[in-house]
């Protein structure tokens, strides 16, 4: 069952198949409702679309959650909180980015304080396109995520561990609004 006593654990190869099966069938979600996408969540949770039939349940804190669902645009200030929350989640953890804002900034493509590509700061496993995506899109993304977990491709959290320094460098740059070769102080 993937339980090993003592120091022998924590090898990726020993990640048993049953553990993959159970982690795919029980995705607990933390919805970081910053943008307008939050309005799509109630239909997904309630009787019309009912995400609970796939074992997906909303959680209150990142410690308990497996999936971080980011619903919409992120300013630099919000990004700091998102990263804080992401780092508090327990591995294996996945990120679903919702709406075009997280892909390329969307309608905030030229805003001075909205980040454009979420993937540069935290690894994203599944994107949902659209402005707004429909609830079916969210369900579809979760099913896609389940497939990816099953195939062993949803490894964003491993990527984050592996390239931790690079991610931290990107995050530091954007938090400090640091433009290369330009250090003007207003």
């Amino acid at each position: 069952m993937g339980l090993y006593i003592g120091d022998k654990m924590m090898k990726y190869e020993e990640w048993s198949k049953l553990a993959i099966k159970v982690s795919k069938a029980s995705l607990w979600m933390l919805h970081f409702c910053t943008g307008c996408g939050a309005i799509e969540m109630p239909p997904v949770m309630t009787s019309r679309y009912d995400m609970e039939r796939f074992g997906i349940a909303p959680m209150a804190t990142p410690r308990q959650a497996d999936v971080l669902l980011i619903t919409g645009y992120l300013t630099v200030k919000t990004l700091r909180r998102v990263i804080q929350v992401y780092e508090q989640m327990q591995s294996p953890k996945y990120v679903i980015a919702f709406g075009s804002c997280t892909i390329n900034g969307g309608m905030y493509w030229d805003s001075y304080n909205t980040i454009k590509h979420l993937e540069k700061y935290i690894p994203v496993d599944v994107y949902i396109t659209g402005c707004m995506p429909r609830p079916e899109g969210i369900i579809n993304a979760f099913i896609k995520l389940m497939e990816l977990i099953d195939e062993g491709k949803a490894r964003g959290w491993e990527k984050y561990q592996k390239y931790y320094d690079k991610y931290k460098e990107n995050q530091r740059r954007v938090f400090n609004f640091e433009i290369e070769g330009e250090n003007e102080e207003y």
Binding site: M1, S26, E52, F54, G55, A60, T61, R63
Partner: protein
């Protein structure tokens, strides 16, 4: 007691610990399904909670806040298993001859206190508030529950759960406590107390995910949360069994050759019915505020329980 006898006893206790855990998880899954049906949803499969626990226990990273935080894991599971084994289940006495109802009442506090210690050790303010609410809830629902318990005890002139069950099973269903009018009132009060014990709505004030980020559990993840889910599952079985032992004769209806199997099935059916009742109440009511819950228990429930106690007292004195 000889070696063989001890071995059989240990095997029986282990079997009931496993059965209690599985039944609890199964019921929680069924409860989720029922709530989903009430909401006109499809709901998760009935085995969903097994998957959830397995997933939590197989998480790769786990965050602890120090050794006091770990006490939550150690004490929650061991304490609730201990409680379960001191209850007579379906006519099987287990260890219930070694203790009594007061012991069970206090044993229920071990996992709760361990849990509270772990939650407090995390240093999260939400956890502190959650534990405070849980303790105030405990003070609230214990009053009617204690009064009904005392009513039963003075009626049967014993505090031992095993004896209470035996005396209620003499004539099968007819001798169950709930068939007597004073104990009908008491059972109503105790059932409301059970609702609070199970922390189901309208008394899920301590966890309140939307107000205080699931309260005491705010910092629990991975194996810690998994162990707490196990605790909750076993607690569900233990608390409903306590009610069944007190008012429904422990589910004992048959004596004789196949009595063991029949009694087990009846016990299972009874705790399932109790659980369904509590789930249906939970599905139809919103959450109380803590003062409202306190007032509800200490005013109305306590008065109902006190009436039954006085009634029983008059019966006994006569």
């Amino acid at each position: 007691m000889d070696v063989m006898g001890i071995a059989i006893k240990v095997a029986l206790l282990t079997a009931y610990a496993v059965i209690g855990t599985c039944v609890g998880l199964l019921f929680m899954g069924i409860g989720r399904k029922i709530i989903a049906r009430v909401h006109n949803r499809v709901g998760p499969p009935f085995y969903q909670n097994f998957i959830d626990v397995a997933k939590l226990l197989s998480k790769k990273t786990n965050i602890s806040h120090g050794w006091i935080f770990d006490l939550a894991l150690l004490f929650s599971i061991s304490g609730i298993l201990l409680t379960l084994l001191f209850l007579p289940i379906g006519g099987v006495q287990l260890l219930s001859m070694e203790g009594d109802a007061f012991l069970v009442l206090y044993l229920l506090a071990i996992p709760a206190l361990g849990f509270a210690l772990g939650a407090g050790a995390s240093g999260n303010p939400n956890a502190g508030v959650g534990v405070m609410r849980a303790l105030v809830m405990m003070l609230s629902y214990e009053l009617p529950f204690i009064i009904t318990l005392i009513a039963l005890m003075i009626y049967y002139d014993t505090t031992s759960l095993a004896t209470i069950v035996r005396m209620q099973s003499i004539n099968g269903v007819k001798s169950w406590a709930i068939t007597m009018p004073p104990f009908m009132l008491a059972a109503f009060a105790a059932d409301m107390a059970l609702q609070g014990m199970l922390m189901e709505q309208p008394f899920d004030i301590p966890v309140a995910p939307h107000e205080i980020a699931s309260g005491p559990m705010v910092e629990f993840g991975g194996k810690y949360l998994g162990s707490l889910m196990l605790y909750k599952a076993i607690a569900l079985v233990a608390e409903t069994t306590l009610f069944v032992d007190l008012f429904l004769g422990g589910g004992v209806v048959a004596h004789g050759n196949f009595a063991f199997v029949i009694n087990f099935i009846v016990w299972l059916a009874l705790i399932f019915l109790l659980f369904i009742l509590s789930i249906l109440i939970a599905a139809s009511f919103p959450r109380f505020r803590i003062e409202q819950a306190f007032g509800f228990y200490w005013k109305y429930e306590a008065i109902i329980a006190a009436i039954s106690l006085i009634w029983v007292y008059i019966l006994v004195i006569k």
